[in-house]
């Protein structure tokens, strides 16, 4: 299942997931529908906080590990931040606290860690030597914290993630708010069919699956089979297996037959320009799947493909939101949507994220 690689990258990391397929090649040669409940050959890893507490350690051994881990975190200082905008000590210390929270069966014990020579032992969801290994990977290999614990807190959800699947970003949370605003007083859209293209861990799909009406449905698509499996797991965990259908395939390819029928098209597609990939923060560049990041020469390959698709797939009055790399892409897309899509869209606008960066382009399919 290796896809050919056409864009060279300036560093020679071996990326955990396959490289970006060229946009001139047929986008996907396969697609299959994954029912969220059907077992697939890929099994998602159980995140730390859901594992049974079958390990134990004495207070003092755990404290020893914690002190060691803290020291490593402090030694980092601002060196990661200075080199590639990575985490500084204070962020790492907070992650350490969360790692402990996810590992311990009983969180109320955390304040007692400071007590010297406590002879009692505590129940853990992971063996102590594995904890040493995990934190080493965090500091030395810059492995993302979310891959250590196997989950990411996103909105009010706890989504499972694992290596090979993109970790949802805080910015993307806003897409759910944007959809909420639109469906709040639009019964038709609320009960229609929505698609989340490039669903990754299923973040957007699960987020909106919970705000749609009783007849509303979400089709969540990803080219990466592992992402599709993880998304199915997350949908199931939130009891949305009947609301969200997971499909493995490329963008609109599996959606034949839905032309002009979709109430909403949402996507956070890969949008980083290929040339920027090698300069990325280590947590991202060395560990997250490049298929999720690389948007082609100017980062717009997939976004433009999605705009064209939205024009034919959305029903009149249907809503779309795409996440972008920032102001430049937003402006380009607005211009493209208004001028090059033969009047298909209306109310096209740009929405900024909380950092004030123009992040999303939204709009509606014009009524015929």
């Amino acid at each position: 299942m290796k896809l050919s690689l056409t864009r060279a990258c300036c560093r020679s990391y071996t990326f955990p997931i396959f490289r970006k397929p060229s946009s001139v090649l047929p986008r996907a040669i396969f697609h299959q529908s994954l029912s969220s409940s059907s077992s697939s050959s890929l099994k998602p890893k159980t995140p730390l906080f859901l594992r049974p507490p079958k390990h134990s350690a004495t207070f003092s051994d755990l404290k020893k590990w914690h002190d060691w881990a803290n020291t490593l975190a402090y030694e980092v200082g601002s060196s990661f931040a200075d080199s590639d905008n990575g985490p500084d000590s204070s962020i790492l210390c907070r992650e350490l606290k969360w790692l402990l929270e996810d590992s311990l069966e009983d969180n109320s014990l955390i304040p007692h860690l400071g007590i010297e020579n406590n002879p009692n032992s505590v129940k853990l969801r992971i063996a102590l030597d594995e904890l040493y290994g995990l934190w080493k990977e965090r500091i030395e290999k810059r492995k993302p914290f979310q891959y250590l614990v196997g989950c990411e807190h996103w909105r009010d959800l706890v989504l499972c993630v694992e290596e090979g699947v993109f970790i949802p970003r805080p910015e993307t949370e806003l897409i759910v708010d944007l959809v909420n605003e639109v469906v709040r007083d639009n019964e038709q859209l609320r009960n229609g069919i929505w698609v989340d293209l490039g669903t990754g861990s299923g973040a957007i799909a699960v987020g909106i699956g919970r705000i749609l009406g009783s007849k509303g449905k979400v089709i969540a698509v990803d080219l990466n089979p592992l992402a599709a499996t993880v998304a199915a797991f997350n949908a199931h965990r939130y009891g949305l297996q009947d609301v969200i259908e997971i499909q493995q395939g490329s963008w609109f390819e599996t959606l034949k037959g839905f032309e002009g029928k979709l109430s909403g098209v949402l996507s956070n597609p890969p949008y980083i320009p290929s040339d920027d990939i090698c300069g990325l923060q280590s947590e991202v560049g060395k560990h997250e799947p490049i298929l999720a990041l690389d948007g082609g020469l100017d980062g717009m390959d997939d976004l433009l493909h999605l705009c064209n698709g939205a024009a034919s797939m959305l029903k009149p009055g249907g809503f779309f939101t795409f996440e972008t790399n920032g102001e430049k892409q937003c402006k380009f897309l607005v211009d493209y949507l208004e001028n090059d899509c033969s009047g298909s869209f209306c109310n096209v606008s740009i929405v900024s994220d909380f950092a004030g960066i123009q992040r999303f382009v939204t709009g509606f399919r014009r009524a015929l």
Binding site: N85, P87, S90, I91, R94, E95, W98, P111, P144, F145, Q146, E152, H153, W154, R155, D156, L157, F166, I167, R169, P170, E171, E173, N268, P270, Y271, I272, D276, L280, Q281, E283, V284, E288, A292, L293, E323, T324, N325, G326, D353, F354, A355, G356, I357, R359
Partner: protein, 509 residues
């Protein structure tokens, strides 16, 4: 200070039993014709006639065995002699119940005009005025017990601001009796809640008072009739009242409307760089430990660390009953004197940290309505391109309420969405507090925000060098072991302040 016992033990988990369980039936206008407010087990009159007496009348052989049948026989006469009326009514269950009510009382829960007294006219104030010697508890002297209890009752009344309470209660009753009250259900709900809660407090004190007087009557009666059993029973009852009264004095310290709320505690470092930032973090640690000892749940909401050590500012949430009631005593500037570990030439430094405390109002209270469009929400410490470029677990947001300029930040949650929700809760409380201050419904000194706390409003000094001492400048309460205080043993300071600030208010009586 002598009026209560300060335990300075390490784990003084509870010296107050804060359970203002509503021992009385609630009054509300949906039952305006009820002359008698009764619940299954307690029947209490707004005159404050004691509960146990009535229970005993209904059920003479009940568990309250210290009262003899004899007493029951005599009760009716006594009651009649002391200005109450007795009626026999048929209860819903069909049995006959004796019901007592003060003569000439009004329809609604207003203040009863009758000053309760013993059959020979002795009142609580009268007992205090007699200046009977207060001997040790172990001395079986009824006058000493009575004098101690009467004194406690005066302290309790003062702490509850008895006179103001009376005025407020009459005002609320008048309001409640208005026929158009329920046209505005929100207002009506607020009024009747407040009335119910004040009435509950009044009734409790009055019942206690009445109980004292009855025991005195009982003792006199026992002596007349040479009934030594009855006399010793009554003496025993007085003793247990005396013990109980200390607890009630403490309870009365926390009778403010917001006292039962959870709260936020904020600490900000004063000028002076790293040394004062270190001090601010010590103060914050002191409150975290204090709150944990008290069994409160502590959550760090927001923290701005200093460059080298300590914090510039931090906010914690303290969840639990009466968190605000206690913590409000800590509002002001805290001063530290020590040899700074950050000073290579080992000089003595003085630094300050300011503390603000904000109540988290319950759902029943009026909250400020926040318009989404009045808010500006910012990513805190954002940098770079964001989005797919960055993987960070740092998702703090700051919310600015544009019309007032009030801001709130939260960075402790694991998602931006939750940080935003928590920051909104802080913002709501800040705006509520601002509004309360505006309405001046609250003791102004407890509503100051951090920015308003003048560094001159110094409340306490912590000296680590050249000698060791912590001293409260408001009460002169002092402790010679700063370590225990910094480890959260603050109860002595808090209680002495609370009692001093209420007890000095002499108009209470």
């Amino acid at each position: 200070m002598s009026s209560f016992i300060l335990k300075r033990s390490r784990n003084s988990s509870s010296f107050l039993f804060q359970n203002p369980s509503n021992k009385s039936a609630t009054l509300n206008s949906s039952q305006p014709n009820n002359l008698i407010y009764s619940s299954q087990n307690h029947t209490v009159f707004h005159s404050g006639f004691s509960t146990f007496l009535l229970n005993n009348m209904k059920n003479p052989s009940s568990s309250y065995s210290t009262l003899s049948r004899r007493m029951h026989r005599n009760l009716k006469d006594m009651i009649l002699a002391s200005g109450f009326s007795v009626l026999s009514v048929r209860s819903p269950s069909g049995s006959n119940e004796v019901v007592v009510f003060p003569r000439g009382c009004g329809l609604f829960g207003t203040w009863a005009a009758v000053e309760p007294s013993t059959s020979d006219g002795l009142t609580v104030d009268g007992i205090v005025a007699n200046n009977w010697a207060i001997l040790d508890e172990s001395e079986s002297d009824w006058k000493s017990h009575a004098a101690a209890i009467a004194q406690s009752i005066q302290v309790i009344k003062r702490r509850l601001q008895w006179k103001k309470l009376k005025v407020r209660l009459n005002l609320l009753s008048a309001e409640l009796n208005k026929p158009d009250l329920w046209d505005d259900p929100v207002h009506a709900g607020k009024i009747s809640r407040e009335h119910g809660s004040l009435m509950g407090k009044v009734k409790e004190v009055k019942a206690f008072e009445q109980e004292l007087l009855e025991h005195i009557d009982m003792i006199k009666l026992a002596r007349e009739e040479n009934d030594t059993d009855l006399e010793s029973e009554s003496l025993q009852a007085l003793l247990s009242m005396r013990r109980n009264s200390k607890e009630r004095e403490l309870e009365a310290l926390l009778s403010g409307e917001q006292d039962p709320c959870s709260c936020y505690i904020e600490v900000q470092a004063g000028a002076g760089g790293t040394e004062s930032m270190d001090w601010a973090s010590m103060v914050m640690q002191m409150y975290k430990s204090w709150a944990q000892r008290r069994g409160y749940v502590v959550t760090l909401m927001d923290e701005m660390p200093g460059e080298i050590a300590g914090i510039k500012r931090a906010t914690i949430k303290v969840d639990g009953e009466y968190a605000f009631g206690y913590a409000k005593a800590e509002v002001g500037a805290h001063r530290l004197v020590r040899i700074s570990p950050f000073d290579s030439s080992k000089r003595r430094h003085t630094s300050f940290a300011a503390v603000a405390v904000i109540p988290m109002l319950g759902d029943g209270s009026t909250r400020v309505q926040i318009n989404e469009s009045d808010l500006r929400i910012e990513r805190f410490r954002a940098g770079g391109a964001g989005g797919q470029h960055v993987n960070t677990t740092e998702s703090a947001v700051r919310i600015v309420h544009i019309p007032t300029g009030v801001t709130a930040t939260c960075q402790n949650e694991r998602s931006q969405h939750q940080n935003k929700a928590s920051a909104m809760a802080v913002l709501q409380s800040r705006l509520d507090q601002l509004e309360m201050a505006r309405q001046a419904q609250m003791n102004a000194q407890h509503t100051q925000s951090l920015t308003e706390i003048s560094w001159g409003n110094q409340i306490r000094t912590y000296v680590l060098h050249p000698y060791r001492m912590v001293k409260d400048l408001r009460t002169n309460y002092e402790v010679s072991d700063p370590d225990s205080v910094l480890e959260g043993d603050l109860d002595g300071f808090i209680l002495s302040y609370l009692s001093a600030s209420l007890d000095k208010d002499e108009d209470g009586q």
